[in-house]
């Protein structure tokens, strides 16, 4: 159909999934949602009515651990037997291509489950000759293909035909080279083993960047932990809160009236004034395990009586990661958003809000 004027008003697809449950509930899925969102580039938490950074948070933030940037790493290095045995099978290994754009370039990601996901264009796919499937979001004529290799599979032995073929495809047929962000979570031996393993390559250890700031006299919406949809005059809805949170993190002014010229955005009602709000932002390549630790600290924070009614934890994913949650395909149309926000209430009830953009599966 040729309907230009209707196209002009068309809205790009986007999803916001809200869940509500209790942190200690045995069937609560919040931890698995956090764990399944493998690639996080930014974590922020917001504590209302808190002036000084609690020690527990300080140490949790300090213990985020470093990650590595390896330049010009051939992809076949990630499927060698040695790498699999040293890293993939012992602990959780995370890898994501850096400075690649999922809507233009080839990208690759190694999940802690041992799955290596390649998102490649049609030409590369044809050259590689590995089995994959067309991307769900590339239309009638697929221009992008997804290849999933399971490195932890038992049949993926050094002598297996499959392994040999993959090595050959990545090493000789179509050598692919990327800059990788790497991190390894494990128990036991010392950290720098990744560093020494890739000593031949240009490798750089990086620390997540942390900033603490205190916002003063903030208008905060009133929430009711049992009412995701809010209630007129009594509590704000999850969606309103989500927008407000964005406004706070982007330093957007909240004091506007419907007749203001510049902006008509105002804090959702009802709201309260909070004297000071602590905001902590961490950027880098942050592992889900560390976010779980932070989450535990937040739960512990409420063990003693506190002024705050809730704490919010915002996690931004990489726009160019080939997966969002689990192995759900992720793409970039206009914004490539994949992020979530956890609101932990005093009662340890929580709201989980997961937002994805146009080229994403429902989380």
């Amino acid at each position: 159909m040729f309907v230009p004027l209707r196209w002009l008003r068309e809205t790009p697809r986007h999803l916001l999934v809200c869940e509500r449950s209790h942190v200690r509930h045995e069937r609560s899925r919040h931890a698995s949602h956090v764990r399944d969102h493998a690639f996080n580039c930014r974590v922020s938490f917001l504590i209302p009515d808190c002036g000084i950074v609690p020690e527990a948070f300080k140490s949790a933030v300090a213990g985020l651990g470093e990650y590595y940037l390896v330049k010009n790493l051939s992809l076949h290095e990630l499927v060698t037997e040695e790498f699999i045995n040293t890293f993939v099978k012992k602990g959780s290994c995370y890898a994501l291509t850096y400075n690649t754009r999922i809507d233009q370039d080839n990208t690759a990601a190694l999940l802690p489950t041992g799955k290596l996901i390649l998102s490649v264009d049609k030409d590369t796919y044809e050259e590689l000759g590995l089995q994959g499937h067309p991307s769900r979001y590339s239309g009638k004529k697929p221009m992008r293909y997804i290849i999933t290799l399971d490195l932890s599979e038992s049949t993926f032995g050094p002598d297996s035909k499959k392994h040999k073929r993959i090595i050959w495809a990545l090493k000789e047929k179509k050598p692919l080279e990327f800059d990788f962000l790497l991190a390894w979570h494990h128990t036991g031996s010392e950290e720098s083993i990744l560093m020494s393993y890739f000593s031949k390559n240009q490798i750089q250890a990086l620390q997540p960047k942390v900033t603490f700031s205190t916002l003063r006299n903030v208008q905060c919406p009133v929430l009711d932990n049992n009412k995701l949809k809010g209630e007129p005059e009594a509590a704000c809805s999850a969606q309103e809160f989500f927008e407000w949170l964005g406004a706070i993190l982007s330093c957007v002014g909240l004091e506007n009236t419907p007749s203001s010229f510049l902006s008509t955005y105002s804090c959702p009602q009802p709201s309260t004034f909070v004297e000071q709000v602590l905001l902590c932002t961490i950027t880098g390549f942050i592992l889900p395990e560390k976010i779980i630790c932070l989450l535990e600290q937040i739960c512990c924070y409420f063990e003693e009586p506190k002024l705050a009614h809730w704490i919010s934890l915002v996690v931004h994913g990489f726009a160019d990661s080939p997966v969002s949650w689990r192995e759900c395909e992720h793409g970039f149309l206009k914004g490539g958003e994949n992020l979530y926000n956890l609101v932990i209430f005093r009662s340890l009830d929580y709201w989980l809000q997961m937002a994805v953009g146009a080229h994403d599966d429902c989380p």
Partner: protein, 167 residues
């Protein structure tokens, strides 16, 4: 072969000005409508509407005008027409307004509508008529336009898909 679908707007130009009839020409109407689209919908709206835009018919005596544009963009044109407040011709502005009578998919539906409309107008005149001579004259013209309609019916039958659109 897909043909381009057009929409035809049958409008009545209403004005109090007595000099108005003399200055009403296709060019003036064309420019007036284009200007109002440019004002309401900007460069984009004007660019859309100017594809196949034309003044197909103009009757200066009755102030009836038939405009044409592509179906895809007819809403832009339609939404601009109420905002016409004057007609500019030879550097003179004449206050007027456009009243859309009918929006059709073919010229023929518009023509049928116009005949129907005009005969209704004549009948209304007939009802309010006072002198016998006038009555006679109006009755004659009513009959003549009925005849024209009949004739049209037989001669122009090729355009089949004339769905009357008055959405």
């Amino acid at each position: 072969m897909v043909r381009f679908k057009n929409r035809y707007f049958l409008c009545e130009i209403i004005s109090d000005d007595s000099r108005f009839q003399q200055c009403l020409d296709e060019r003036a109407v064309h420019n007036t409508v284009k200007n109002v689209i440019a004002r309401m919908h900007g460069d984009f709206g004007l660019a859309c509407c100017s594809i196949a835009f034309s003044v197909k018919y103009l009757n200066a005596y009755t102030g009836i005008v038939l405009l044409c544009c592509r179906k895809d963009f007819h809403r832009l044109l339609w939404s601009s027409l109420p905002f016409i407040t004057y007609l500019e011709s030879r550097n003179q502005r004449y206050p007027c307004s456009f009243n859309t009578l009918h929006v059709g998919a073919t010229i023929r539906t518009c023509q049928k509508f116009l005949i129907h409309y005009n005969s209704n107008q004549l009948l209304a005149l007939l009802r309010n008529c006072t002198s016998e001579a006038d009555r006679q004259a109006i009755q004659e013209s009513v009959q003549s336009c009925m005849f024209v309609e009949e004739e049209q019916f037989h001669s122009k039958d090729e355009e089949s898909d004339d769905s009357m659109q008055m959405a």
